[in-house]
C-alpha cells in the first residue's frame, strides 16, 4: 500500500514539474504562432531591420531594439558605481549599526513600485533635464536611464552585499594578520572573491532594466526612431508593446508585437542561462 502512495506522490510531483516547464515553453510557442502570419508574409529579418511605419505597411522593431539596449545599458553604467559604493559602505566601511540600518533601507527600496519612480521622474527630473541641456523636451534616453539606474541600484547593491558576506571570515582575518588595512582587504581579498556573485547581480539587474515597462513609457518619450544622442527620445520594446496593445487584434501592428515578445523572451532566457552557467561553475570551484 505504502509503495503505491509513494508512486502516486512521485508521479504527481513529476507532473507538476512537467506542467510548469511546459507552460514556459508554451508561452514561446504561443508567441511564435501568433507572430507567424506577419513573419511568413515578409520574413523575420525585415521585422527586425526595417523601420516602424504601420500606415506604410512596415512593422520593423529595429528602433525599439536599439532603444531597449541603449536605455538598459546606460542605466547599468549609472547603477554599477552607485551599487559598488553602497555595498562597500555596508559590507566594509560603515560601523555595523549604520550598515544594518542602511541595508534595511535598501531592502525597502527594492519594493517601491516602478510607477512611483516614473511619476517622480516626470515631475522632477524631466524639467531639470529640459532646462539644463536646452535641447528637446526633457523626455529622453538619459532621463529614463537615470531613473532606471536608481530603480535597479538596490537589487544590485543587495547582490553585491550578499557576495561579500559569503567570503569566509578566516580569509579576512588572515589578511588582517598580515597588516592589511580595511581598504586593502576590500580591494585585494573581497573584490576578487566576490566577482562571480557580483556578475550575477549585474546580469539580474540588467534583466530588470530590460523588462521594465513603465519608466521608459513615462520618461523616454517613445519616439519611434534610432536615437542619435542621449538627449533624444527613444522607445523600448516593452513600451512599444504597451503602446500597440490597444490596436485591434486582427491588425498587423498587433501581430508585430509578438516579435517584440520573442526578442524579449530570448534575451531573458539568455541572461538566465548565463547566470545558471556561472552558478554551476562556481559550485565546481568550491
Amino acid at each position: 500500500m505504502k509503495k503505491l502512495h509513494e508512486l502516486v506522490a512521485e508521479r504527481l510531483l513529476c507532473l507538476s514539474a512537467l506542467a510548469s516547464s511546459a507552460i514556459t515553453l508554451a508561452i514561446l510557442a504561443f508567441l511564435v504562432v501568433m507572430g507567424l502570419p506577419l513573419m511568413r508574409a515578409g520574413g523575420v529579418l525585415p521585422l527586425v531591420y526595417s523601420p516602424w511605419a504601420p500606415f506604410q505597411g512596415s512593422f520593423g522593431i529595429f528602433p525599439m531594439i536599439v532603444g531597449t539596449c541603449a536605455i538598459s545599458l546606460a542605466s547599468l553604467v549609472l547603477a554599477f558605481p552607485l551599487s559598488l559604493g553602497c555595498s562597500f559602505l555596508i559590507a566594509a566601511v560603515a560601523p555595523s549599526a549604520v550598515s544594518r540600518g542602511f541595508r534595511r533601507l535598501i531592502e525597502l527600496m527594492t519594493g517601491i513600485p516602478t510607477v512611483v519612480y516614473g511619476f517622480v521622474g516626470i515631475f522632477l527630473l524631466v524639467p531639470i533635464v529640459r532646462e539644463l541641456f536646452r535641447s528637446g523636451s526633457g523626455m529622453s534616453l538619459l532621463t529614463a536611464a537615470l531613473v532606471l539606474g536608481i530603480m535597479i541600484t538596490p537589487t544590485m547593491t543587495l547582490f553585491f552585499c550578499d557576495s561579500f558576506d559569503r567570503i569566509p571570515k578566516s580569509y579576512l582575518d588572515a589578511a588582517e594578520a598580515l597588516g592589511a588595512s580595511r581598504t586593502q582587504q576590500l580591494l585585494h581579498v573581497m573584490l576578487p572573491l566576490a566577482k562571480k556573485g557580483m556578475l550575477t547581480g549585474v546580469l539580474l539587474a540588467l534583466g530588470r532594466a530590460v523588462g521594465d515597462t513603465l519608466i521608459a513609457l513615462m520618461l523616454a518619450g517613445n519616439a519611434v526612431q534610432v536615437p542619435t544622442s542621449v538627449l533624444e527620445p527613444a522607445r523600448t520594446l516593452t513600451a512599444h508593446i504597451a503602446l500597440v496593445m490597444a490596436a485591434d487584434y486582427e491588425s498587423p501592428e498587433f501581430r508585430s508585437i509578438f516579435t517584440c515578445g520573442i526578442v524579449l523572451y530570448l534575451f531573458t532566457l539568455t541572461v538566465t542561462f548565463v547566470v545558471r552557467a556561472m552558478g554551476s561553475a562556481k559550485d565546481e570551484a568550491a
Binding site: V126, P127, G221, L243
Partner: protein, 277 residues
C-alpha cells in the same frame, strides 16, 4: 446529506433577493423589465463610453448582458449590416451605399473635435493648417519661425490605435506625414500633462479635454471650442455614430436612448466628447 439540502431553498431565496434588489434610478428605469444580450462592435473611440454605459446598465439589471468589441468603423458597419451585432459603431457617417445595402439606421450621439494645444506660456496662439502640417512633418522645428522663442519645437503625438490621432491626422494634417522624432503619449490625459509640463511642446487633445493647463491654438482663424465644434465652424471634428440594421431592437433602442439621458451625456462628456442634444 439531508441537512445540506435543507439549506438549498434558503440559498436560492438569497440569490434571488441578491439579483433583484439593486435599486433602479432615473435614467436606468427603462431597463427594468429587459433581459437578454446586446452585442456592440466597431469604432474604438466609442469604446470607453460604451463600456461605462454598459457597466451602469448591467449593474442595475444583471439580466442584461452587453458585449463590446473594437475593430474600427469599417468593421462596425459591416458586422451590424450582416447581423452579427446589434449595434455597429462608426467614427464616420456610413456612406449612402452602405446605408442602402444594409438598410442601416444611423444614430449620431456625439461630436469629437480635436484641437492642437500648446503650453499656456507659449505666445503662439494661432496657426494656419499649412503651418500645422509643416510642424508635425518636422519642416518647421523652431518656435522662432512662428514668432515665438528661439527653442526647438517638441512634438507630441498619440499611438496608432488612438481615435483622436486618427481625426487630427485625417482632418488637421490632411493625412500628412508625422515625423518619427515626435514623442508618443498614451492618452488624452497624458497628452495634457505632457504639454502642460513642457513650455515648448505642441500636441493635440479632444476638445472636451481642454482646460486651463493647456492653451488651444486657433487653426485658420477658428479657435477650437465646444461651441465652434458644435456649430461646425471648426473643421477638425467628426461625429460619433451608432448604427442598427433597420429599427433597433427594444434593448438596443433603450441603450441608445440612455446615451441622451443626463446620465448618458455625463459619461460622454467625461471621455472628452461633446454630446448632441
Amino acid at each position: 446529506m439531508k441537512k445540506h439540502l435543507a439549506f438549498l431553498p434558503l440559498l436560492i431565496a438569497g440569490l434571488l433577493l441578491g439579483t433583484f434588489s439593486p435599486a433602479f434610478s432615473g435614467s436606468l428605469d427603462s431597463f427594468k423589465n429587459e433581459k437578454g444580450v446586446l452585442k456592440i462592435s466597431g469604432g474604438t473611440a466609442h469604446i470607453p463610453v460604451m463600456k461605462d454605459a454598459a457597466q451602469k446598465i448591467m449593474t442595475a439589471n444583471p439580466d442584461i448582458q452587453i458585449s463590446i468589441a473594437g475593430g474600427g468603423s469599417g468593421v462596425g458597419i459591416k458586422q451590424v449590416g450582416e447581423g452579427l451585432v446589434d449595434i455597429g459603431n462608426s467614427g464616420r457617417k456610413p456612406t449612402a451605399e452602405e446605408i442602402d445595402r444594409y438598410g442601416l439606421k444611423v444614430h449620431q450621439w456625439a461630436v469629437d473635435g480635436v484641437a492642437p494645444v500648446v503650453n499656456p506660456k507659449n505666445k503662439v496662439s494661432k496657426l494656419t493648417k499649412a503651418q500645422m502640417s509643416d510642424i508635425f512633418a518636422g519642416k518647421i522645428d523652431n518656435w522662432r519661425q512662428l514668432g515665438g522663442e528661439n527653442r526647438k519645437i517638441n512634438l507630441y503625438t498619440r499611438d496608432e490605435a488612438s481615435g483622436t490621432r486618427e481625426v487630427f491626422w485625417e482632418k488637421g494634417l490632411d493625412k500628412g506625414n508625422v515625423t518619427a522624432a515626435a514623442h508618443v503619449v498614451v492618452s488624452n490625459g497624458a497628452m495634457k500633462s505632457a504639454v502642460a509640463q513642457d513650455p515648448y511642446g505642441i500636441g493635440y487633445v479632444s476638445v472636451g479635454h481642454i482646460d486651463r493647463t493647456v492653451a488651444p491654438v486657433a487653426l485658420d482663424g477658428v479657435l477650437p471650442t465646444i461651441e465652434t465644434v458644435r456649430n461646425g465652424s471648426y473643421k477638425v471634428a467628426r461625429g460619433l455614430y451608432s448604427n442598427t440594421k433597420g429599427e433597433p431592437t427594444s434593448l438596443a433602442k433603450k441603450f441608445l436612448d440612455f446615451l441622451s439621458t443626463p446620465e448618458g451625456s455625463r459619461i460622454i462628456e467625461e471621455h472628452g466628447f461633446i454630446p448632441l442634444r
